[in-house]
């Protein structure tokens, strides 16, 4: 029941209950902002594998999950992570070494696919991609697609405009809906029933959540119901969409959470460096993921000084003059 009842639970329990081996999942955020990193590390710690990940540009979370071998199939628009990794290192390696099956879309296509899932329509139209190799080159073969009922039979389809040239378009690209088994997002505020308030850009979190069978919300602040009801205009996701609420301060670290903390450029650089070398990467994982039991211990491992360095300035919502190179 996704109704107005208390859905709070420990993150480890939420991940165990809703993120099963082979599940089709998506995660919120964009590159180095508001990725549900505590949940990502918990998935890795629980060694959940064979996941099918739908991503637009979830750089930081993507590369941790791919690097840990949790992902077997990937539908993605962008595998980059800002200055630290213009191309995500483990993502590039996994593809270059044929370790995962992958399918390329654009950011708008992936966003529309989540939106179609949220709207309950089988597809949405766009003018993006006509004439591109995205239409003609399929990462998932037609036979593989037909053999898996959870994967749409065609990557994309060009459809004639039934209204002639209305809207100045004779044809459109239809992008198929996505309905993940579970989506995990990290938000600034949530109440125990799962109503969410995101501060700053929402990216595609709202569409991803509404498209999903189950939604795990991790939040910086767990607030009383009344706090969010005071201003319903600012709540993007009502509780009916949410299955689990986990209170995880710094749950987005090392990515930024607007109004709370900045991304940790140093951590991301250290990750990118480690990602280039197998031994260094194993050492990185042992220290920060497998060497700790939960996100609290992870934050201890990271150290107070880092968390203080990224603390947000109340005026701007980010860490002013933070060392970023």
């Amino acid at each position: 029941m996704n109704n107005d009842t208390d859905k709070t639970m420990p993150l480890a329990e939420a991940v165990t209950r809703f993120v099963k081996t082979g599940a089709h999942i998506s995660i919120g955020g964009f590159t180095l902002n508001r990725n549900p990193m505590a949940a990502v590390y918990e998935i890795i710690r629980q060694k959940i594998t064979d996941l099918h990940l739908y991503a637009h540009s979830n750089g930081t979370g993507l590369d941790e999950l791919v690097g840990a071998g949790c992902i077997s199939k990937l539908e993605i628009a962008y595998g980059g992570n800002g200055k630290a990794a213009p191309t995500c290192i483990r993502f590039a390696r996994a593809i270059q070494n044929n370790e995962i099956q992958f399918e390329d879309y654009s950011n708008y296509m992936m966003s529309l696919r989540f939106m179609a899932g949220a709207m309950g329509v089988p597809f949405l139209p766009t003018l993006s991609g006509l004439g591109s190799d995205m239409l003609t080159t399929w990462g998932f073969s037609e036979s593989m697609r037909r053999s898996d009922p959870k994967i749409v039979d065609r990557k994309l389809a060009v459809v004639d405009n039934p209204f002639g040239n209305w809207g100045g378009a004779k044809k459109v690209v239809a992008v198929p809906a996505i309905n993940p088994d579970v989506t995990i997002i990290h938000v600034q505020q949530a109440d125990p029933m799962g109503t969410c308030r995101i501060q700053g850009l929402t990216f595609a979190d709202v569409e991803q959540a509404k498209a999903s069978r189950h939604v795990i919300v991790t939040c910086e602040q767990l607030v009383e119901k009344g706090v969010l009801r005071e201003n319903p205009d600012m709540n993007q996701i009502p509780f009916i969409h949410v299955s689990a609420v986990c209170h995880v301060p710094f749950g987005g670290y090392p990515t930024a959470v607007y109004g709370h903390y900045d991304y940790d450029a140093q951590y991301l650089k250290q990750f990118a460096a480690a990602a280039r070398d197998e031994n260094a990467f194993t050492a990185y994982q042992d220290r920060f993921i497998f060497g700790v039991d939960n996100h609290g211990q992870f934050l201890k491992q990271v150290g107070k000084d880092r968390l203080e360095a990224v603390a947000a300035d109340p005026r701007t919502g980010y860490s002013v003059n933070m060392k970023r190179d």
């Binding site: 540009s57 595998g79 200055k83 191309t87 004439g131 995205m134 595609a204 190179d325």
Partner: protein, 259 residues
């Protein structure tokens, strides 16, 4: 007296000059962000910078290092979402006022871009980030600036993967494919400025820089290119460079070491 500047500086100024007052500028990060900021401070004060992540007209007190950098969320006119940002470009009413700044690993004679891979798509020699919003932008908006390092391996006859549509195979094939007119309309490199023939849709050399020549540029281009229309670009002026250096990137976070 001769004004000195770095390749990055002249590229930024050349791109900034493409932005007109009133333009809505779709910006990435790095040098493209810097060009958008420079245009706003130099020649197009009433231009508007926005990002595919949904931030419109951000104040940018600090230079963002990613299009999801929290620095773009501060003091914006509106913070929305990916679907809203791309709709702004797909929508003709607003989209026709957008000029975009893109980068790529490869470009072909018709301004098509590859940001996906080098080699075979299924097991590439080098895998890049992929489209991101690039394919969407190149599909939607009438004017795009492509920033490139001018090298033979990047200016190729045929792309390993066509990520973002330009003029496709030229001669109206873009419109025939169902796309609106648009895509990459100007290429700014460390050696010169290229545009595309209105009829054939093929790249031609429009401007050399002080110190570069058509022959030098052809040497770094992997396909035949018309250079008959090439003239020399007006070099960056004192005031352009002053504003760029002092008001846009005083710490040279993006411009890098001074020449």
């Amino acid at each position: 007296m001769k004004i000195s500047y770095t390749p990055k500086e002249i590229m930024t100024i050349m791109a900034a000059r493409e932005i007109k007052n009133g333009d809505i500028v779709f910006s990435g990060t790095g040098i493209s962000m810097l060009a958008a900021m420079a245009a706003k401070k130099i020649n197009a004060p009433d231009s508007v910078i926005f990002f595919e992540t949904g931030a419109m007209d951000s104040l940018l007190e600090e230079i963002p290092f990613a299009v999801a950098d929290p620095r773009i969320m501060y003091w914006a006119a509106a913070n929305s979402s990916l679907t809203d940002a791309f709709a702004t470009m797909q929508n003709r009413i607003t989209g026709d006022r957008v000029i975009a700044i893109l980068g790529a690993a490869q470009i072909d004679p018709y301004g098509n871009l590859n940001t996906t891979c080098i080699g075979d798509y299924y097991s590439p020699d080098v895998r890049f980030s992929g489209s991101g919003g690039g394919c969407d932008v190149a599909s939607f908006v009438p004017r795009c600036i492509a920033f490139m390092q001018h090298e033979k391996r990047k200016f190729v006859k045929k792309l390993d993967y066509l990520t973002s549509p330009g003029q496709l195979t030229g001669n109206g094939s873009r419109e025939a494919a169902g796309l609106r007119p648009g895509g990459v309309s100007v290429v700014v490199t460390n050696l010169g400025v290229m545009r595309f023939d209105a009829h054939t849709g093929r790249m031609y050399l429009d401007r050399c820089y002080p110190g570069t020549t058509p022959d030098m540029i052809l040497e770094h281009t992997g396909f035949a290119m018309d250079v008959s229309r090439a003239v020399q670009a007006d070099p960056p002026t004192d005031s352009e460079l002053k504003i760029l250096r002092e008001n846009c990137d005083p710490q040279r976070l993006i411009l890098g070491p001074a020449g």
